[in-house]
């Protein structure tokens, strides 16, 4: 081994160590994750039924936000239309359960596959669009959803929607329907987050982010931009669709007007508040999406959305890179201070 090689190997080790120091140590991360998971498991036994239901929705939003974050945060394609895929997933489940009497567990993968395919094909024309133009096209998609759902009323039940019954806990488990739904959603959330983390940390994830940062350089390195962008669109739609399917099961009701443009806007707000391009950001964003409108309602009954708007603007002033970005910065500051 020549001296030069050892030197470069040393430099590499030093660089890796520096990179590791910039992030949270592995033990801290795993510990934090274990605490969060343990908390998530005991939560439904400590809270009332309605709060359990609300936390189920937090998990559902977290899945949808992770899906949107893959597209917007990691791949750089802005979508104001993910409510459309959420609606597609929800209606896939509702129609399969209500009309065809399919067991509800099978409808989740079905909703995912339907949204994957539709998202992939919507992603192909979206390839030609960038920035605000893509935002506009997807905005149009989200707006059209309630009208289209009402138009096919033979399938969708028109503006009346479809009423489902909440699934009962299987195998005679001694828990309530709300608690069962919570654990089902939690299991799906964990599976999807692990899959998403695996997808984003490896070769595929690097390609997805390279396209966001510099499409030309990515192409020059041999990344097939068109394929990766449409695939990301598909996977993102798939996540959001599964979230929609879970929401249909837990709310036990779907109606066209709940899938309005504000749902899509809420998703976008959620990922920006949580932190673009961050997996944990999806969870912070989901908590914001579920609870801040309620707090706004508590502060002012007369104009709750004005309070919500003020919260939004203040959040953006204080944490322009979202909660995850702010935490990362705080950790960085805490690391640097002791050294002076």
């Amino acid at each position: 081994m020549t001296g030069e090689q050892t030197a470069s190997a040393d430099a590499l080790v030093a660089a890796r160590a520096a990179a590791r120091r910039a992030e949270l140590p592995r033990a801290w991360r795993l510990g934090g994750l274990a605490v969060v998971l343990a908390l998530a498991c005991v939560l439904p036994f400590l809270l009332s039924g309605f709060l359990v239901f609300q936390f189920t929705l937090v998990l559902v939003y977290a899945i949808a936000l992770l899906g949107l974050n893959m597209l917007t945060g990691f791949n750089g394609q802005i979508s104001l239309g993910h409510g459309a895929f959420y609606a597609l997933g929800a209606y896939t489940t509702a129609i399969m359960v209500d009309r065809w009497h399919v067991p509800y567990a099978w409808t989740l993968p079905a909703a995912g596959v339907v949204c994957l395919v539709v998202g992939f094909f919507f992603g192909i024309p979206a390839l030609r669009l960038e920035g605000i133009y893509l935002a506009l096209a997807t905005f149009a998609l989200a707006l059209a959803v309630p009208q289209i759902l009402k138009y096919f009323d033979e399938w969708t039940g028109g503006s009346q929607g479809i009423v489902l019954s909440k699934p009962k806990p299987p195998w005679g488990l001694p828990i309530s329907a709300d608690q069962w739904l919570y654990f089902l959603t939690l299991a799906v959330t964990i599976i999807l987050f692990v899959l998403g983390w695996n997808l984003l940390r490896g070769r595929t994830g690097r390609a997805i982010m390279a396209i966001r940062d510099n499409p030309i350089a990515a192409e020059a390195m041999g990344v097939n931009n068109a394929l990766y962008k449409s695939l990301t669109f598909g996977v993102s739609a798939c996540y959001t669709g599964i979230a929609g399917a879970l929401s249909a099961l837990s709310i036990a009701f779907v109606a066209p007007d709940t899938f309005n443009i504000f749902l899509s806007i809420t998703f976008l707000v959620g990922i920006v508040i949580g932190g673009l391009g961050s997996i944990s950001g999806a969870i912070f964003g989901a908590l914001f999406t579920q609870f801040v409108p309620n707090y706004a309602q508590d502060i002012s009954k007369a104009a709750p959305w004005a309070i919500y708007g003020i919260f939004l603007i203040l959040f953006m002033y204080v944490m322009p890179r979202g909660v995850a970005g702010a935490l990362r910065m705080l950790w960085h500051l805490a690391r640097q201070r002791p050294r002076g």
Binding site: A137, A302, I313
Partner: protein
């Protein structure tokens, strides 16, 4: 044939409204590179101001110009106070702040003025004019006239005044503009003020037709987006032509294509947006944005 012409005429009338809001959108986009999602709500709020002045017995045209002036100052203040702190943040952060503004304006209007639908007076006579078998509403003609006058004023402002030139320079190349002594920050604020002004005019022209309520602009804004996309986000004149075209297409499709009727009218506008973006992303009159690599 008469139905056809009648539909074209009423299409042009609604098109005038889309055109004026599309114009406001294009103005802000031109002057600041931001698509302002709160544009419609700002217009709605200005219209409510005009409405309360009219209720207190202020004559129409005085209320009109007072509202326009307030809207201009309001637009400048919104940019200086709320948008400026995040001016250099990522685009999505600005979008979220605009969405925050949207919910604030909407909610405060509902709080102060309630969500009850209110009639809004038109400055033009009620009796329609008849030419042959075709009926022209005087308000529609008036609204189209106001839009065209506004467009002419904007054209003259940007083309022939030094302030207009400074604003174009600030939007086109902020760094160089600052180096030759243009106060870029204030030019951006002026852009917001002018867009708020145009929005206020649009609001007062549309309110007699669709009535006044806090959510009145949601539907109109979509058509304005469609118009701006069709005409091109880089061309104010194109946005106006796009507005008229969208109005006519919407009406004709609703009349002659049986499965669309009234229930899928909105979907037509959206299909239009997507088709235009796919076939000619820069719009009919816009110029393609060229990237330097």
């Amino acid at each position: 044939m008469e139905t056809f012409f009648q539909q074209v005429v009423s299409g042009l009338a609604t098109g005038g409204i889309y055109a004026s809001l599309a114009l406001a959108l294009v103005m802000i986009y031109q002057a600041t590179d931001v698509v302002n999602y709160s544009q419609g709500e700002m217009a709605m709020f200005s219209t409510y101001l005009a409405w309360s002045m009219l209720n207190h017995g202020v004559p129409y045209w005085i209320a009109f110009f007072a509202t326009v002036a307030i809207a201009f100052v309001g637009g400048v203040l919104v940019q200086r106070i709320i948008i400026r702190p995040v001016q250099n943040a990522p685009v999505l952060t600005i979008v979220i702040v605009c969405i925050g503004l949207l919910t604030i304006f909407n909610s405060i209007a509902g709080w102060i003025y309630s969500y009850v639908i209110q009639p809004f007076p038109s400055p033009f006579p009620k009796e329609p004019i008849k030419i042959g078998q075709i009926v022209f509403g005087q308000h529609d003609l008036g609204a189209i006239g106001v839009t065209l006058i506004l467009l002419a004023l904007i054209y003259v402002f940007f083309r022939f005044t030094s302030l207009g030139l400074a604003m174009r320079a600030a939007a086109h190349n902020p760094v160089s503009a600052r180096l030759v002594g243009i106060r870029v920050g204030w030019m951006l604020a002026l852009g917001w003020g002018m867009a708020a002004l145009i929005g206020a005019v649009a609001g007062m022209m549309v309110a007699p037709v669709i009535f006044l309520e806090p959510n009145m602009m949601a539907g109109i804004l979509i058509y304005a987006f469609a118009s701006a996309t069709l005409g091109g986000f880089t061309s104010p004149g194109g946005a106006v032509v796009g507005g008229f075209l969208v109005g006519v297409i919407e009406n004709l499709a609703g009349t002659y294509v049986s499965f669309i009727g009234t229930s899928l009218k909105l979907t037509v506008a959206l299909a239009l947006i997507i088709v235009v973006l796919l076939v000619r992303p820069s719009g009919l009159f816009g110029r393609a944005v060229v990237h330097r690599v």
